[in-house]
Each structure stands twice: as structure tokens, then as C-alpha cells.
Amino acid sequence: MFTPGSKFFLGLTGFSLAVCVLYIALVDNATGGAVALLSIATASGVVAGLSLFNRDGEVAVGDTAAPASAEQLTASMWPLIATVGFVGVVAGLITHPIVFFLGLIALLAAGTEWLVQSWSEGASSDKVYNASLRGRMLHPLEFPILATVGLGVIIISFSRVMLAVSKDAGAIIFIVVGSAVLFAGAIFALKPSLKKTLVVGICVASAVGVAASGIAAASNGLRDDLVKAKKEHHFSHKECGEEESEHFDHLAEGTISMRSNPIATIELRDGKLTARELGVDKVTQTITFPRSNDATIIFRNKDEREARLTAYLGTKAVQDGVVEEVLNCTQMIGIDHEQALTFKIAKPSMASEKPYTLTVPGLEGQSIEIMVP
């Protein structure tokens, strides 16, 4: 059952595992050595498995068929790809790590394919059988990898396009491309008699098209507002005072999920700030928050200007004697839009010098008090 080669590697696996156990037991701080020994064990385990599957590469042993023939050689692109990979590796060492890794991947892929192909071609004199042998060995690897790569290229290309064009154009492109895919799918499904080459041609052409426009879009860069937002570090900062950035995200409410059952809803309308607690059917200027509780409020902007809601949550000592205000805020919210804000107040109101409040920067005289009993 076990071939000589696999026996050797299995033995090596077992031996290195045993040594590893001993090593860990006997040597202090054994991490490095243990990793090395485990790596040997794993590698020889894999090789043992491989040599079991292909009977040490001697497919033909014991077969009643004619001996392997050397005349079965077919054209192969793997030497070429291996060369490209090798060049990539070398070039990558002096230029850019990405080139190095791409080269390495090409080299590995070519090596594997080449190895299996030449092995299978020596298997027997039956070409069809040899091809099926190659398929059995490589298809479980090839299909998932190619599918992932293919999908990845299309997804990345498409996303580059969407980031490069304006939002409106993006919507139109999405609709057009989606409809085209649906239409093509429907045609293929309804007309099974369609020529195979035609179907393949359409698919390849569209895939190439998507990839090409992706490359074009990527080289064109992001659209203007994204570029500016990036410059202002808009995605990372939280300005709880008046807005200084020019290019905040005007669709903020769309980027944060809507919540049901928040503790209160704060509304800005006609320059007035009002609150409504969930379950209480009246408008108030004071809301009650349980202490030490992550709670969510919704800020709804019904005013005629953009606004943000800022929560003053007391102070905290940053160093000895230095005290800093704790603020939290929503993003700038457009007219008729809303956003959720989740925060926690750990100390009761009586422990704070100033009351906890919700205010809109730039709007004087309007505030909602947060009562923490």
C-alpha cells in the first residue's frame, strides 16, 4: 500500500515530530527550533502525501498496458512562463517587491504545471488517459484559483471605474452593465443553440473590456471630491466644533445604518433643538440616560442648513492636572437627513461640574441637557 518514497517521507515526518516534542520538552525557550522542526514535519508530510497519490511518480508500475512512450510530447507554454517568472523574480529584487511576488507566483505555477504535465505524459501511451490524469491532479487546484483571480480582476476593475466617475455616472454605468449582463444571460439561456465560439467571444470581450476600463480608470485616479476628502483626512478625523473641512461626506446618513429603538431622537428645526424620548409622547429639553450605558440617539436635521450634533460628555484627566473635555459628535448632516450617535457616560450628572449637553456648533442658546442619575 505504501510506496517506498512515501514510506521515507512518512518516516521523516514522524521522526521530526518526535524530535520536535522532545526538543520542546527539553529546551527552554524552544520557539525557533520548534518552528523549524514543525516546518520539516509539515513539509515532509505534504511530500509524503503527494508521493502516495502518484505512487512515487511511477504511474505505469503494474499496469498491463504498453510502456510509456516519449512521442506523446505536446506543445507547452510552461517553460516560457517559468522564464518570465524567473525574470520577474530577478527584476523584482532590484525594482519593486510586487514584481518579485508576481514573478514568484508565475514561477511556482509554471513549476507545478510543468511537473504534473510531464509526469502525466509519461504515464502511458494513451493520450486521452494521460490528459485525464493531468486533469485529476490539477483541476482541483486550477479551477478555484483561476475563478478567484478572474473574479478578483473583474471586481477590482469595476470598483476602479466606479471610484473614478462621478456618482451620477456611476449609477448609470451600474444600471447599464447590470442590464447587459442580465440580457446576455437571458439570451444564452433562451438560445441554447447559439454557437459556442460566439458565447465565449462575447464573454471574453466583455471581461477584457471591464479589465481595460478598470486599468484606464485606475490610471486616471479618483474623482475630485474623493481626492479632496482624502487630502483633508476627512475619513479619519472627527471635528466636533464648527466644520472646517470643505468636502465632508454629504451622504453621511446613508453610510451609517439606521437604528430602531434609540433612546431619544434629537431634532433641529427652524433653529431650535428639541428632543423626544422613545415611548414618551412629548417634546422635551432634558433627556435621561442611564449611567455607564452605551446608548444611541438619532440626530435629525430638519433645518435649512447643514448641521452636526455635538455631545459634551464631561472631562477626563489626560495628565496630572491637565483636564480635557470629552466630546463626541455626528458628521455634518445634510438637510432632511439623520444620523445615529452612540456613546456612554460613565459618571452621574452630579459628578460633573458642567451639565452634559447636546449642542449644534454655531447655534447659540440651543442645547439639550442629558440627565444621568
Partner: protein, 399 residues
């Protein structure tokens, strides 16, 4: 009658008898079939007929099956007709239950919406669950005499005949607030506020229990709702609004205050308690407990249970006196609070000696790595018997 039949008949009569006797289990404090408030009443009015219908259907099916068993037993009769069914009968037997259920559905629909109304609220209480006790805070509601927020735990006090709206939330895991005599249950979910209507017809103490599995001491997370007459409620509010008074100098209680300031105030707030330098002592449960809260003890002795309402502050005799009181007298007795002679010394001392031994909690440092060393529940403080004496003396002044 064959033996099987006789057994079945015996079984049926036995079942009937037991279900009759079931109603004899009287005065279970959490009985769901004894509504004491309008919301529970609405539910009860809906469920009684449903149970009756279900019972009748059950008996019919049972009788038909028993009839078949007796009547069609193999007595060597000829092979029965190989019938594959009678569609008309089948369709009829599909429509009939559908009609019954449609009827039930209409009433269910109405009741669901009745029970979710919030427009007729007369009083609001915020209810917050955490492992393993309930906290209540009453926002200021001057029209009810609540001029400043009140905070209490374990027992919620409401005025009788007033439509109270609970706004429930939780500080850690999901809990569920349930006072069977007053309404069904509603989960308290962290990050969400859920409302639950409550009102009581008569003064009394209504027991309940957390009914969403909330971890280790789920069984020890209880609560009561105490309904008081309007006057009694006003008296209760007045008492709750007052700060705790410091005990007289040179008493055991005063020494207890020092122990409290040294140990307990890390988590437990007592309003009005001053540190040695005269500044107010502010508890910091957020620094010591994972949920960030511990019961406010300002008026501990105005409640008659403690530790998640699982143990009594009243000793057996006094408890029976208060809990068993008629609806006319229960208010006065409850307001009297826990006097020295009524205090359940045993359980309170046991608790102070080693709380986690009494109520399973995460107080062992090896179990606290997931919470960065913060406790889940009260740890064993390692108090000396001396300190416990002093603390008990101090705690009994917190009326």
C-alpha cells in the same frame, strides 16, 4: 372492555383529575392567570377563550382516537376498503381550523396594538437591567411630585391606578422584565429602549423574575413591583428625594460609615455621603464593575429585598406581615421600611462576608481577564466580623 381501553380510560380520568387539582396550587406569586392590572387583564381575557378552544379541540381529537382504538381493533374483520381519502372532507377539515384561527387572529391583532400604546402614559420609569439586578430611575416628573430624578433598585414603586410606562434597556446582556400579575414580559436589550406598560388595580407587592437567560446567576435576578396608594406613593417619593443623613458621632453606625467610605463607596452610591474632607463621595462603579453600575444604597432599608431582590431584608416574621398584608394596609407597612428588629441579619451578614458564595458571580480574578479585571457582580471583600458589625449598623440607618 379490553385492558388497553381500561388503561386509557383510567389515564383520561387521571389526567382530568390532575388538571382539576392544578388549579388548587394557590397563591403562586408569579401566577400568570391572576391578573392584577389592566394590561394583564387584557391578556387574560384573550388567552382564556384560546385555552378553552384548544382544550375542546384536544378532547375531541383524543376521543376520536380512543373511539378508533376501541371500535376498529383487529377482530378478524375483512380487509377494509382501500380508500385514499375524501377530498371534500379533507378540504372541510382544512377550512374549519382556518376559520377558528382567523377568529383568534382578529382578537390577537387588536390586543397586540392595545398593549403597545404609549399615548396614555401617566408616569415614566427608566428600567435598566444588568447582571444580576434591576435599576430603576424615575426622571423628574413634577406633576407626580417627583421634582428631581430618583434612583433605586430591585423593587419598583408605582402609584396605584396610574398608567406607568417602563423604558427598558440593559447595560450588558439581554434581560427580560416580567411581573406576571401586571403584564407580559419585555426584553431589555443593550443599545435599544423597549417600552412596557404597567398598572396595578390595588396596592400590593407583585413579584417577578428576569426571564431572559442572562448568564451565571440568572436564577437570582428577581424584582418586585410595589403598588402604593397615591398618598403613600407621595410619601415614598418624599423619602426617596431626601439625602441620607450621616449617623451621630461615636456610634457603631458612624464607624460603619467609615468602613463604607473605605470599601463600599467604590461602587455603591449613597446620596449625601461626604468624604472626610467634606466633599461628596461619588461612587465609581464604572472603574470596578463591568456593567458600570451598582445599586444605589441611599434608601436601602426602604426596600425589603436585596442582592437582585433574591434575598429578604426582612426577617421571616416581618416579611410575612408585610407581604401577606391586605391591600388596605400593605402601603403603610411597606413604607415603614426595615426596622432594626425586623432586619434579616443572617442573610445580610452572609452577603457581606462572602457575596459570591451566596449568589454565583464572576468575582474570581482568574475569570476576569476577559473584562480587564473588572468584576461581574460583587466580589468577596474579605471584611472582618468587626467591620461587618459596623457596616450592618450603618446600613440600617439608610432608611
Amino acid at each position: 372492555m379490553s385492558t388497553t381501553t381500561r388503561r386509557i380510560v383510567a389515564g383520561v380520568s387521571g389526567l382530568a383529575a390532575t388538571s382539576f387539582l392544578a388549579s388548587c396550587a394557590k397563591d403562586a406569586p408569579q401566577d400568570t392567570w391572576q391578573p392584577k392590572g389592566s394590561n394583564a387583564k387584557i391578556i387574560d381575557d384573550l388567552q382564556q377563550p384560546v385555552f378553552a378552544i384548544a382544550g375542546v379541540v384536544g378532547v375531541i381529537v383524543f376521543c376520536v382516537v380512543v373511539y378508533c382504538i376501541i371500535k376498529f381493533r383487529d377482530r378478524g374483520q375483512a380487509m377494509p376498503e382501500q380508500t385514499h381519502g375524501k377530498p371534500a372532507l379533507e378540504i372541510g377539515m382544512t377550512i374549519l381550523p382556518a376559520l377558528i384561527l382567523a377568529g383568534v387572529g382578529v382578537f390577537t391583532f387588536r390586543t397586540v396594538f392595545d398593549l403597545s400604546k404609549t399615548s396614555d402614559t401617566q408616569m415614566v420609569v427608566n428600567v435598566t437591567g444588568q447582571q444580576w439586578w434591576w435599576e430603576y430611575d424615575y426622571p423628574a416628573q413634577p406633576e407626580l411630585g417627583i421634582t428631581a430624578p430618583i434612583i433605586t433598585s430591585g423593587q419598583m414603586v408605582i402609584p396605584v391606578g396610574t398608567k406607568v410606562l417602563l423604558r427598558e434597556t440593559s447595560r450588558d446582556v439581554i434581560h427580560s422584565y416580567w411581573i406576571p400579575a401586571l403584564n407580559g414580559k419585555r426584553d431589555a436589550v443593550p443599545g435599544r429602549v423597549h417600552t412596557l406598560r404597567l398598572d396595578a388595580d390595588k396596592p400590593g407587592i407583585y413579584a417577578g423574575q428576569c426571564t431572559e437567560f442572562c448568564g451565571l446567576s440568572h436564577a437570582n435576578m428577581r424584582m418586585e413591583t410595589v403598588a402604593l396608594s397615591k398618598e403613600d406613593f407621595a410619601a415614598w417619593v418624599a423619602n426617596q428625594l431626601a439625602d441620607a443623613k450621616s449617623p451621630a458621632e461615636n456610634t457603631l453606625a458612624k464607624e460603619g460609615e467609615a468602613v463604607f467610605l473605605n470599601q463600599c463607596v467604590r461602587c455603591h452610591q449613597v446620596n449625601g455621603l461626604k468624604k472626610a474632607d467634606g466633599s461628596p463621595a461619588i461612587a465609581a462603579p464604572d472603574e470596578n464593575v463591568w456593567s458600570g453600575a451598582a445599586p444605589n444604597l441611599t434608601h436601602l432599608m426602604s426596600r425589603n429585598t436585596f442582592a437582585g431582590a433574591s434575598w429578604d431584608l426582612l426577617n421571616k416574621k416581618c416579611r410575612a406581615n408585610v407581604w401577606g398584608a391586605s391591600s388596605e394596609t400593605v402601603g403603610k407597612k411597606y413604607l415603614a421600611g426595615v426596622s432594626e428588629e425586623c432586619l434579616n441579619q443572617t442573610d445580610l451578614r452572609r452577603w457581606l462576608r462572602n457575596a459570591p458564595a451566596m449568589k454565583p458571580m464572576y468575582a474570581d480574578p482568574t475569570q476576569l481577564s476577559s473584562t480587564n479585571g473588572k468584576y461581574r457582580g460583587m466580589p468577596n471583600l474579605g471584611l472582618s466580623e468587626d467591620d461587618i458589625d459596623k457596616l450592618v449598623a450603618y446600613l440600617s440607618t439608610l432608611k
